[in-house]
């Protein structure tokens, strides 16, 4: 088991480094110049100011040296200073990450709570109305572009029906709670500010549903497929022959065996939600990491791009690692191999 853990861990760290290297090379290949986005038109045309800027940000160093400095800083837990916000990237990420974490977590819980039972039911009641509904839901969820879905949701439930609050994490007149974790639901709960808690929760409804849609579809489909497979196995037939109740067969025998692919997918889906909320965040004016990443990319903010890459890669790798570990728990045969 320990050997399994260690080998996974080594591969994980290597993957993160590889990801940063790839992004570093890509970011340095595009012709866009961070000087031009960070300096105004006048300063960007003054060679002295441009040279000073490059020297200050280390952009005048050879590429390998720049990457080495990045690794060196990373090893010390220093993500550098953002060129466009002029603050430590870590500070930026601490500011923006909670909004994304909160949104992605709610969306993930939502998609698991809905997708998993829906997938199971669709498999158990194959070719009934439930199955068709499940298939329709997952098809729409997977195929509808998030951007479009977000606009429709906002226009209908906020613009027309006024059932849901508008963009942002809180109403304009709500005072944000004192920051403890940056997660509004937790901070307001800790401070007993239930009015703001409600406000924050209501603002999460639309964006989390929109964000959950695609994941929900995937989880439903995967669960359904895995359940169908499991239900056709011999042990299910044996269980039936033994006279076990239907529910016990599904939940006790088939479901655990069907979980492996679902857990894999779920892990990746959660990582995806964390890294890929750009569209939802844009439409819902959500001050999260997705927007920050997008902004870093368009302003060619190398330190921010590199830091976000390292973090996103680390999230994916971590999730994969946890998924691998959970295999060992779900299916002891994995370790023996």
């Amino acid at each position: 088991m320990i050997r399994y853990v260690v080998s996974r861990l080594v591969v994980s760290v290597a993957m993160v480094l590889l990801a940063t290297l790839v992004i570093f090379l890509i970011a340095n290949t595009v012709p866009g110049d961070p000087v031009l986005t960070a300096l105004g038109d006048m300063a960007a045309s003054d060679p002295a100011q441009v040279a000073e800027f490059r020297a200050r940000w280390g952009l005048d160093l050879p590429l390998w040296h720049q990457y080495w400095l990045f690794l060196e800083r990373l090893a010390h837990g220093d993500l550098g200073v953002s060129i466009s916000s002029r603050r430590p990237v870590l500070q930026d990420i601490i500011d923006y990450a909670p909004a994304t974490l909160e949104l992605a977590t709610v969306a993930f819980i939502l998609s698991v709570l809905v997708g998993l039972p829906l997938g199971v039911l669709a498999a158990v009641r194959r070719d009934t109305v439930i199955d068709h509904v499940a298939r329709a839901v997952s098809l729409i969820g997977v195929s509808a572009p998030t951007f479009w879905l977000a606009f429709i949701a906002l226009a209908v439930f906020y613009g027309q029906l006024n059932w849901a609050p508008g963009p942002g994490r809180l109403d304009a007149v709500s005072f944000p709670p004192d920051r403890i974790t940056g997660l509004l639901l937790i901070d307001t709960a800790l401070q007993g500010d239930w009015e703001t808690f409600h406000d924050a929760a209501a603002h999460l409804v639309l964006p989390s549903i929109v964000l959950a849609a695609a994941t929900l579809g995937l989880i439903t489909r995967t669960t359904r497929a895995a359940m169908l497979e499991a239900l056709s196995q011999d042990y299910v037939r044996v269980a039936k022959a033994k006279g076990l109740r239907g529910r016990l067969i599904v939940v006790g025998h088939a479901l655990p065996n069907a979980m492996l692919p679902v857990v894999t997918l779920g892990g990746l889906a959660y990582a995806n939600l964390l890294a890929g909320a750009v569209m939802t965040e844009t439409v819902f004016s959500w001050p999260g990491l997705g927007r920050y990443t997008f902004r870093s990319a368009v302003t060619v903010d190398f330190p921010a791009i590199m830091a976000v890459t390292a973090i996103v890669a680390a999230i994916f790798v971590l999730v994969n690692f946890l998924v691998d570990m959970s295999y060992a728990l779900l299916d002891p045969r994995v370790v023996k191999k």
Partner: protein
């Protein structure tokens, strides 16, 4: 947080959460099949917009993703001058709608001294900072000196200041290194607001020569202000909102709102919904189609503001394209464009067009002058110029543009329109769309043949445009600027008489048309949606969007 919470929640209301729903299989089904909507349904919204707190708050929707700081000495982007101007006053200002005549602000009068290089400013004696401390000449000296020593971007526009001296508690002298360069129009912009010396020093600020390294006040000034303006900055959550409260000591009288909130909304569609719902009072970033949908709304009025920004096509004397090195061929481009059609069809008529690189509204630039000396659609003349240039069948060039839109006009659409216009005289524009940053990198490097791009000024000072066109902008289009044009720009910049200045700038614009590198196509009249429960909000083209000080609940 689980679905449960969302299910039982209502926005900002006092009512307790309803009984917790249980999550048996049936519950999941309800949620799964259309029950998602039911979750939303139950979070019905209270009438927050009606509350007294909401009435006392002016909520503005604005894309503030470009803002990197709110310390005046570092304010040079597009959106941050709005809050900066609300928090700080400068020596002088421009009234909305007049970008020519300076008006007094903290200074009541100003005059060049007989030595020709000193400007003496008399300060108001009744001004207090938001803290209650009186504003004095020492605060003015400190603010300018800090700016001069920190040397961040706005500094480059006043780098010709030698020093600022206190004459007496209500008089300062600004001594110039180069008195030929303009000053007063430039220091009207929010970057040159006056800060309370004591407060800035208390938070790590300094005006010492090593302020570039030693000044630590920016972090505090990003979330607080120390100015004399109508509102005081109390917080900035990046990419979220900027909060301000009223300054009870404001020298022009108590401001109309208790609070001002600038909410970041990068999507114009979200701004549209928010203003329709009344969650925001002002929406700045709506595109023409969205403005059109608001025309019939009884609760919303549309305010137009002729900006000083413009979209232009730069045509480069590119080494790769001999045709573009021929002035007559470039002029032929200028006469083949359907300028009126562009403004009518691409931006719904909400734009004006200047002669050249001086926007309509500044000294010496009017729409009438454009009709008199600017390019106009004249295909016969265009063909004639092509014939004179020895290219009767036209020529080819590559037109580059970024994947962006300005004032709702996508560069792509504009490029296609130009392509079809130019095709009428045989000029073939090959469209080369690219990433915006890459486009700018290549354009600034002088590597393109032609580019569609955008110009917005740091201050309504003609010299900032004209000097750019003969220096850095000239380099981008490979223009070897003749000496007489250089002299003209220098003379016009040094001219302190407005009428004489206007005459010189007319000559300058004629020279620009003759050189035919820049074809200004659209100077947008920005359309801002304002709810009718707001009165007295005046929009300005001078660079800070609006005078928040005059706004009050209707």
């Amino acid at each position: 947080m689980t679905v449960k919470d969302a299910d039982a929640t209502s926005t900002g209301s006092d009512e307790a959460p309803t009984a917790e729903p249980t999550f048996d299989r049936r519950g999941f089904m309800v949620l799964g099949a259309g029950g998602l909507l039911a979750a939303v349904l139950q979070s019905a919204r209270p009438a927050a917009a009606q509350s007294a707190q909401r009435r006392g708050t002016l909520v503005i929707a604005l894309d503030i993703s470009d803002a990197t700081g709110l310390d005046p000495v570092r304010v040079y982007q597009y959106s941050n001058p709005l809050p900066t101007h609300a928090a700080y006053d400068g020596m002088v200002t421009f009234d909305p709608g007049d970008s020519v005549n300076l008006k007094p602000a903290l200074a009541t009068e100003w005059a060049y001294q007989p030595d020709g290089k000193t400007v003496r400013l008399k300060l108001r004696t009744d001004v207090k900072f938001a803290s209650g401390k009186p504003m004095t000449a020492e605060d003015v000296r400190f603010s300018f000196t800090r700016q001069l020593n920190i040397k961040d971007q706005p500094w480059q526009y006043i780098s010709h200041i030698e020093e600022v001296k206190v004459v007496d508690p209500h008089t300062v002298d600004i001594v110039l290194k180069d008195p030929k360069l303009p000053l007063m129009t430039i220091i009207a912009t929010p970057a040159f607001g006056v800060l309370e010396k004591e407060a800035v020093i208390a938070h790590g600020g300094t005006d010492a020569p090593d302020a570039k390294e030693k000044d630590k006040a920016t972090e505090w000034l990003n979330e607080n202000s120390a100015g004399t303006g109508p509102y005081r900055l109390t917080g900035w959550q990046r990419n979220q909102q900027i909060q301000m409260v009223k300054n009870p000591n404001y020298w022009k009288g108590t401001p109309g709102y208790e609070r001002v909130l600038i909410r970041h909304m990068s999507e114009s569609a979200a701004q549209l919904l928010a203003i329709q719902r009344g969650d925001v009072d002002v929406a700045f970033n709506l595109i023409p189609e969205q403005i059109a949908t608001l025309k019939g709304d009884p609760n919303i009025s549309i305010a137009g503001m002729t900006s000083l920004d413009f979209i232009y096509m730069a045509v480069v004397e590119a080494p790769t394209n001999p045709a573009l090195q021929n002035k007559l061929a470039r002029q032929a481009i200028g006469y083949a464009i359907d300028y009126d059609g562009i403004i009518k069809n691409l931006i719904g008529g909400n734009a004006v067009r200047p002669v050249s690189f001086l926007p309509v509204g500044v000294n010496g630039s009017t729409e009438e002058l454009t009709k008199e000396i600017g390019f106009r659609e004249d295909l016969a003349k265009s063909r004639q110029l092509l014939a004179q240039a020895g290219m009767p069948d036209g020529f080819k060039f590559a037109l580059s543009y970024g994947n962006a839109a300005i004032a709702g006009v996508g560069y792509q659409n504009l490029a296609q329109k130009l392509q079809s216009d130019l095709a009428r005289v045989g000029i073939k524009a090959e469209l080369t769309p690219m990433d915006q940053v890459n486009m700018r990198t290549m354009y600034l490097g002088g590597k393109l043949e032609a580019a569609l791009t955008f110009w917005n000024p740091p201050a309504p000072e003609n010299w900032l445009w004209s000097s750019a066109t003969i220096n850095r902008v000239a380099g981008r289009v490979h223009w070897k600027v003749p000496d007489d044009v250089r002299k003209l720009v220098a003379d016009a910049g040094a001219e302190r008489d407005l009428a004489k200045g206007a005459a010189l700038y007319k000559q300058y614009q004629q020279a620009m048309v003759d050189a035919a590198h820049h074809f200004v196509l659209i100077q947008p009249i920005y359309q801002v949606a304002v709810r009718k429960n707001v009165s007295g909000l005046k929009l300005t083209a001078a660079g800070w969007m609006a005078e928040l000080g005059g706004a009050k609940p209707a």
